[in-house]
Symmetry: D2
Subunit: 408 residues, 4 copies
């Protein structure tokens, strides 16, 4: 790979990506464009602009954008249509944000004539894969620079020395090691590393960043009604809201009631296991409610097909294949199923749990007339069940007869 | 089907199966054998014997058995190895008990020379299918009698008249309609029908039979450690116990802490939707713990394959195909995966939730040496990730290049 | 079910459906509308009109239609996009025609104010299921009448007696029993029953209806080039043709060269096995060619996902669930994959086999630059493979290390 | 990776692996052990011994073994139980041989105290992956050396110069470039590269190594009867034979009749497409016959489950994951299904095609009594089908009713 001339860097404004910024300038002598996205991580972006300027980035090369609506509308919501859970439990909060960042990096590269993009993910994790697969899928000619895989700044001490040598300001609380590594966006906050590296040790309570401990949550349950249209949440307690506003509101509710904490040991795509603590307050409520509305609006054929492909869909997103033909094919299947997934679900929030307690819809397939224990006025002829069972049993009887014969 | 001469009836001792008993005698003039099983439903079985005798059943034709250990060891535990959930949420508590009952019915038919078995499930539900598919799979020549699909006792009034006309004692509280229909065993209690038939209405609190309302659960969390060997729970808090004892103990803990309530609208195999409230206190803890131990003992290849076939496995059990080649094939796959699923999980119980907070095992695949943010002493070469990503990206780049070419 | 007042009958003009026609009139005293479709079965339809008139059907109640283009365009081609094979071998020639017939029956019922439809399929086969599921899916209020399941004309003798008693003309060759039962349309001809009922006996050569015995096919191979656009065949040997014309042309070629004979024992949806001989000359070539063009235009991600869902898709069509949410969801997935499945395939036909020998496309993903054994000018860095393999191996090494430790 | 001290090399005796042998000695100064396996590739192994001795390998370090029986019994046959086809067509002839070679390399390393193994596969293909994943899975501490990824002998000229400089004898016909690259074993011969690199060009006839051109095959068909026990072939035309003998015999028959030629463009695991010509004469017959016996001995539940997991199983073998938990889990599922896959199939061989024409078995599930068009003496009640269909249709009717309501 020839040396890059102009690089778009995913820039948080923090110490690590500031070091990367400077390292790109010194290592490659290349022009750097910074991209800082508001994904709902809860940090102000103005300092990122100032810091980029301080590090010599030209104003026209500083991109700072609020992408929260795009994030929820085009990435989070399509994923939630699938009820996606990685390894049965993880709501993919980090995974789903990476493709959006790569998409903007590649677009900004095209706008600014850059030939490369760079990110601050390490060589051990999943994020490098997600960033790079997305970037290559969107621009097969782009160069991707992953400084953590290249440089020799392999210890905290060396990083700080490099920062000092290059006049990069170091916040006081960054001198010492962080107790763990954090990633955050509107969907979730993840914590991993350091004090969490022993999965036999319970995570310390101070790990929690945005969810109230269930023990400290209100003593009274709270009910929330979420309205869906074609699989996407569109209103809370009857009030229509934009996608990002809905997720923000659900985050508040979930955070308040201790909902959405997950302590997980998962399998990374690169082959190792890692342990993380995930906080997904709004997403946990949203999954519960989406399942609740699907219960009355999807039939068994559609629902079971969705369930059967979900693990693969979740794995694709986890592994970084958002921009792949197979993810898009699965999305087409999922989206096709959501045409009638409209209606309202009431969820009860209480000290760490979110449970569907009621659901209704004009699109409901539930038929009280059919299911009732009372007289059903001929809606269903119980005698039909006899033929249904006998034909379903026929092959089993033929097997049993064969086995008798062979063993006899 | 010619008339049965001798019938083994799944007999609870309650009013409905007592009416069935008498109806079989009068309708077919056949000898009746009763089978009453202690599956952990929490009712005494002695009254069933007395009532059977009262209804004229010969002592040698009254079978009363405690099958709790067999139930948990041979049915519940194999199913939990799969982390089986029907439609994402239901732990299959009723479904998994039916094949065992059918198995004993068929075995007792062979012992007693009976040519038929009978059950008290209605023509609208899943249980008729489960009973009958199992019976036919185990004995292709058996006759199955399902009175609810045959007789004309189609209202509560007619049933009570039949009972009175036949000297069947009617408990006072059975005169009026029950507010809903209940099924119970060691794994769960289900409630459905009547007041629950409108899924837009929250279930009344009195529906709960064995789980404390989360609001009424202790204000302090409790921790429980569950030890697994080859996928099955073998000890609680370090004390080895039999399968049924373990599930009983977990039921106590879960029930106390409000764990395991599910309000679900599900798709029945016979084509309609129904709404039920399920209480699965111990099973909910067991699923959480089993997932916890798999997190450190199964690799991604095994775990993801299990996840991908789980919905089909759960569907088979729900639909009544326990005794089918495909369930046995999937079981072989699942059991093969459990060889190293041994170790201990600590679960936190608190006001309705059960969460894994720690897990450890001699069989662990977790490698702190590989995942650490610290120096890893050469366990992992981050540069390997570059090649890994580039080859994973190759097809995506070829697609992107093709698309440029075609659209260009 | 109340008695039908007006019935639309799927009417071939043959003896059996003529008997049904008369039986409907006499049994129910209802008005009958006949629908006769040209699906390419190779029979003239004029006699059907004359016979219907003879049996007293009003001219405005006689529907005769050429649906060959709709059949191939809307049913056969979408199915071939999936490379659908039931049980690994069967091209679903009968299965795919039934939904179209049901669709027209239901539409004609709406046009003519009929409240019922009727078909001539027996109670043992798959076709009854396919007709009826499609009819109910398209009109949940329609009545479906299946005379073979209802009447007492259970022997050939009784049928002929009924025909004679009702002045239904009987062709001379219909007096005796046919040696087997045949179904035909543009996609295939199936033969089953009678002389074919013993799967241990080779089918007699006279079973073949439209394919030359390979031994009698030309001694010289013939090559055909099939061009695809977005997954559908659009031209043969460079000449653009309509869907039905393409299939007709491929049928000629395949039939001439002995291509497309299948002798199969299959599992019917109703639980029994049956043995049939299928002749699918054009379809066999089309499947081979479609696979050929997908080889260069689909990447592994898309292709393997298609392969993995294909068996389920084929099963749905076989079982009669064409008009179901899950078939439509899978179709959306499949169609999404076909955007670039355009190009040309050369197939060699010779004495029973059809083999792809060459394929080319503007949309090709094949990169000689990457794959070449020669110098590749840096297209591919072989060293990347080392990292790729090491990370793919990581979990296997961790497993092996664990197993050493545990066994040690 | 530290330098290897003693290396077990997969050694064919040909020029390329002789160069590797010498390169290992000179590059690493290490002791070399050679392993030459008779996998049925049709070459004598004595010259390999002589050449190894000539290149200075100690006699006790020369391993030459006939592994044909192990190959067929423990690798080919288990795979054929699954009817495995990669990308719908490829019988995995090369893929399935690699794990066996790696297994012996690792075992010989243990016996000889070697710390490394080496192979002659290039950095572009699948074989490097298969060799190395297997090796690492069997011994996580082993070093694997892949000279083609390391050295600078990147052209034919350089290789020949190295050979001459090192006194490696060069067969006359190796001076020039081979027209394509060949791999062979008892299951298949593959050809790729060079003249085959343009998939739009038909492969030249001289590519065929072991199968007669269909045009040159006998003008008379030949019939062969293959007997299976528990899924494995055990006899041909009534004569019991060992696994390797059976495959050898089927190869003769297939080769004679032009059976088993495949021209394929496939997706390699490393991300690129390649085109190959595969000759699998015996394997093609074996697959056809295995499907034939499964048709009468497996029910729909078992068969369809096998079909649904087959693509994943084939992909795993193709990608090199034979020694992985997930392949072993799938194998457990497959093997479980084969308990009754016993019986005999008659296959017709004729000018390129192999077609099942008859099959019989004591374990057959085919029931002429049930399927017959004649009177079935009450084996099957056609009225059962009405209930079967109505319950299968229920959800479709509920959907249609809902859709009317919503659109109305």
């Amino acid at each position: 790979m020839s040396a890059p001339k102009k690089v778009v860097l995913a820039y948080s404004g923090g110490l690590d990506t500031s070091i990367i910024l400077k390292w790109l300038q010194t290592e490659y002598g290349c022009e750097v464009v910074t991209f800082t996205a508001d994904l709902g991580q809860g940090e102000e972006l103005d300092p990122a602009r100032k810091k980029a300027e301080l590090l010599g980035i030209k104003p026209e090369n500083i991109y700072i954008e609020d992408v929260r609506e795009e994030f929820v509308r085009d990435f989070v919501f399509p994923m939630f249509r699938a009820n996606a859970l990685y390894e049965g439990l993880y709501l993919l909060g980090t995974s789903i944000a990476r493709p959006l960042i790569s998409k903007r990096l590649v677009e900004i590269a095209a706008e600014t004539g850059a030939d490369a993009v760079a990110h601050g993910a390490t060589g051990k994790g999943n994020d490098q894969v997600r960033f790079e697969l997305s970037a290559y899928a969107l621009n097969p000619h782009i160069k991707v620079i992953a400084p953590w895989r290249e440089w020799d700044l392999t210890s905290r001490t060396k990083l700080l020395e490099f920062a000092e040598a290059n006049q990069i300001p170091i916040a006081k609380d960054k001198r010492g090691d962080a107790p763990f590594s954090v990633d955050a966006n509107l969907l979730h906050t993840s914590s991993e590393g350091k004090v969490l590296e022993n999965p036999a040790e319970e995570a310390p309570e101070y790990v929690l960043q945005r969810i109230t401990r269930p023990e400290d949550a209100p003593n009274e349950p709270e009910f929330v009604e979420i309205t869906f249209e074609k699989g996407d949440a569109v209103a809370i307690n009857g009030a229509a809201m934009s996608p990002a506003t809905i997720l923000t509101k659900l985050n508040e509710l979930g955070g308040k009631h201790g909902v959405g904490i997950l302590d997980l040991v998962e399998n990374r795509f690169v082959g190792m296991k890692s342990r993380g603590v995930y906080e997904t307050p709004g997403g946990t409520i949203l999954l519960e409610a989406h399942r609740g509305i699907e219960q009355i609006t999807l039939d068994a054929g559609a629902g079971h097909l969705k369930d059967s492909i979900m693990p693969r869909y979740a794995e694709l997103i986890y592994n970084g294949f958002w921009f792949s033909p197979e993810r898009e094919m699965l999305q087409a299947l999922i989206d096709k199923s959501q045409e009638h997934v409209s209606g309202t679900v009431r969820v009860k929030l209480y000290k760490g749990s979110a449970r569907t307690v009621a659901r209704w819809s004009d699109h409901s397939l539930y038929s009280e007339k059919h299911v009732t224990f009372e007289e059903d006025a001929g809606a269903y002829d119980q005698k039909d069940a006899a033929g249904f069972i006998r034909l379903n049993a026929l092959r089993l009887k033929l097997i049993a007869t064969r086995n008798e014969r062979v063993k006899g």
